[in-house]
């Protein structure tokens, strides 16, 4: 970085709200020509939202952008493309049934709808850009069936074809093998030499260090710092990424820990997680920490039989358990509150009552026919126990707030009288007030002798609730921290993947 670089893009006061939730506040950032700029932050720090605003996918609630000194309004992805801004998604957006060549040129056609498609030119152009990237893909084949790495190459070729000056790569290396990562880096460096600017979003510090010139850190939707990569250490970066303090309303909970409820040994599912072992005792809360994509949810899904592990063993109550489908897991006393509430948790068209009793048909219909009286008494007790706020049991569940929906899901599982509860991000998208209630509830459940596995991306949540914390990174457990010695720092240290080239 000897010579002074020209500023390509200035972002000033960029803010974004989704509904009532503020995800970005007053972001100021300058990007220079010919630099690779890393954008770091925890899950939900606002990196992807910022990238999408630059690329015209979202419009900022407030704020301005200048490109080469001129004010621009990036109102749509097409405008972004015309301005030379390209966003490469982690899972590339493409048209699987169209040819590679068409995917490269799509969006830049000239002429009206009834004008001719210049096939020869399109194919030649596509070949030209893929040659520039040194990748050999038959441009006439359909996108469907291309590896993720090659799909990314096609996306990069697309950004070159529209002569992009700013290329944003959102976690491009996550699905790639080390060799593909190297190829990508080589290309990124060449693009930098050509004077293009790259924003590189990643969780992997080592990659950032290898590739990037400057690094910007976001936290909770705010810009925290921008530094040259040489002047900042890994530890400083991690500290800046978390930098949160324990909130007051959380208190440490201590239940009596009893005998082993579940033992998991060397559970593996290729491509998802490897060699997961732990034991969970009655009254114990084990936290599963790590970044999104570390494989935590996959472990939970395997334990619950949604997509079972390939190898390894699960022992419940001292007996080897075979869990091939969720029904097996329920039979064995497991309950699973999934991460994606809308997709996997609730029956959105049904009432609160029917949501509650969906898992216990036998209890409400002892003779095969549903007893209204029984159904009502069981569900109203369940609702009272967890103090779900609602107008009526017959209300559609979607009318409840997120927190109360989540309570309903938990109440439903408690009706099956589970011994072991798996909670996947149970407080995501829930108001602070209801969150506090949830923490009490989780503590109470443990105190009643239940074993709890809590997946959470919120470090304070893990630190205050759990007896032990397992940290996962890239499908493996990288740390097991007892409550006494766990800190935000050492959880993040274990969560951030560092050595990608080791493989």
């Amino acid at each position: 970085m000897t010579k002074e670089k020209k500023i390509l893009l200035e972002a000033r006061g960029i803010s974004k709200q989704f509904g009532g939730v503020k995800v970005l506040s007053d972001i100021n950032l300058d990007l220079c020509t010919g630099e690779i700029h890393a954008l770091l932050g925890e899950n939900g720090a606002g990196k992807s939202t910022f990238a999408k605003i630059l690329a015209g996918v979202h419009r900022p609630t407030r704020g301005q952008m200048k490109l080469n000194g001129e004010s621009v309004d990036v109102s749509s992805p097409i405008v972004a493309q015309k301005l030379g801004i390209a966003l490469i998604h982690q899972e590339p957006i493409s048209f699987p049934d169209l040819s590679v060549a068409e995917n490269i040129v799509m969006g830049r056609q000239v002429g009206g709808l009834f004008s001719r498609v210049p096939w020869t030119e399109i194919i030649e152009e596509a070949r030209h850009y893929l040659d520039m990237l040194d990748v050999s893909i038959d441009v006439t084949r359909p996108m469907r069936g291309l590896s993720i790495a090659n799909q990314q190459m096609v996306e990069i070729a697309r950004s070159l074809a529209s002569d992009s000056k700013l290329i944003i790569m959102d976690e491009p290396t996550a699905p790639l093998t080390p060799r593909e990562v190297e190829t990508l880096f080589k290309i990124a460096r060449r693009l930098r030499e050509e004077g293009r600017t790259i924003i590189f979003i990643s969780h992997r510090l080592e990659e950032v260090r290898m590739l990037c010139d400057r690094v910007t850190i976001f936290r909770d939707g705010a810009h925290i710092s921008t530094d040259t990569i040489d002047v900042i250490s890994d530890d400083e970066i991690i500290k800046l990424m978390i930098g949160r303090t324990l909130k007051k309303y959380m208190r440490k909970h201590k239940a009596k820990v009893g005998e082993i409820a579940m033992e998991v040994s060397s559970l593996s599912l290729p491509g998802k997680f490897e060699n997961i072992s732990f034991s969970l005792r009655r009254g114990e809360i084990i936290g599963l920490g790590g970044l999104v994509g570390a494989g935590r949810t996959d472990v939970a899904r395997a334990l619950f039989g949604v997509s079972p592990a390939a190898t390894g063993q699960i022992t419940i109550g001292g007996v080897k358990a075979i869990i091939d489908k969720p029904a097996d897991a329920i039979e064995l006393g497991l309950a699973f509150v999934p991460e994606d509430r809308a997709g996997h948790g609730i029956f959105s068209t049904l009432s609160v009552e029917h949501n509650l009793t969906a898992t216990i048909p036998d209890k409400i219909a002892p003779k095969g026919i549903i007893s209204r009286k029984l159904e009502k008494s069981i569900s109203s007790k369940a609702v009272d126990d967890l103090s779900v706020r609602l107008a009526s049991l017959r209300q559609p569940i979607v009318e409840l707030s997120g927190g109360n929906q989540q309570k309903t899901i938990l109440a439903r599982w408690l009706l099956t009288e589970p011994e072991i509860l798996i909670l996947d991000e149970p407080t995501r998208g829930i108001d602070i007030g209801v969150k506090a209630e949830f923490y009490d509830m989780i503590g109470d459940l443990a105190a009643m002798g239940r074993a709890i596995l809590l997946i959470s991306s919120e470090l304070p949540e893990l630190l205050s609730l759990c007896d032990r914390i397992l940290v996962m990174s890239e499908g493996r457990v990288t740390a097991e921290l007892p409550r006494e010695s766990a800190t935000q720092e050492n959880i993040m240290q274990a969560a951030v993947p560092r050595s990608i080239l080791a493989a």
Binding site: V57, P77, Q81, D97, G107, L113, R116, R141, P142, S147
Partner: protein
Amino acid sequence: MTLVRSILLRREAGILVMIVLFCAAVGFYKPQFLTLQSLKIILLLTPLVMIGAMAQMLVLVARHVDLSIGSMLGFSAMVVGLMYREYPDIYWLLGFPVAIFTGAILGLGNGLLVTIFSLPSIIVTLGTLSLYRGLTFIISDARQINRSVIPTELKVMSRTSPIFDIPWIILIAFGIALMTFIIARHTQLGRQIYALGSNPEAAPLRGIDVTKVTLIVFTLAGALSGLAGILYASRWGFVNPSNTGAGFEFQVIAAVVIGGVSINGGIGTVMGTVLGVLLLGCVAAALPLLGIPGSTQNSIYGAVILIALLIDRSVRQGGIIKRSGAIE
């Protein structure tokens, strides 16, 4: 082009093989099936379905479906028939623009309902299937347009032409297939229809005007149904408010699906669709020859659709297996 061709051709070659095997089997029992005369019969059975199939192919590729094309055919045919009845001296060729325009208006109606209210096309066109059929009864006072009303020149089109004596309607049908091929393969519109059906979420992100493309697709389907409507009057010499075009959508969907057009959008070729139409034509021509009563024809069509869907499904799953293999 080699890989795309070879993959798609495999599917199309499959249909061709099915046609050959079917004809060989029927010809084994009834040698007269393998004559030029029966080729003419087969080809005469196909023009209306061919035109409808081209319309439906574009709709399906865009990840929609149009169940109302039979009713649009019926309504357009009726409008033209009424015109011929009320104005016997009108220049007969005027029936073509009138039928096509009528169909286009009906198709535009479908498109507007789908786009403005973002309703699923299967529901919209199920509604207009009934609505347009009902309107046909209303405008015709539930009375048939008789043979005497249809201009002779129009009826002659189904019998001959100056070109090798091949009936005009067959030439028109293949002309429409050629036009559809050009639209699908060589115009921006065509590629955008494929893109839209292949990934509806990504389409607007890549600058595709989804509303416009959808409206054009449904309007085109209506216009082609209108054309099929006047050709119906030419072929059969009458227009009946309840029969004309009834069940047409099923034959068309059967032909299109057999031809390898995916009901999940994005996939389908004109060549495959033409072959699908011809296969159905062969089946239809062989039934009477084999002494199978016409009353079982519908159940045979139904069975053929189901078999074709099962083939489509296994082809798709094969694709998915290949895909995950490629990732590893």
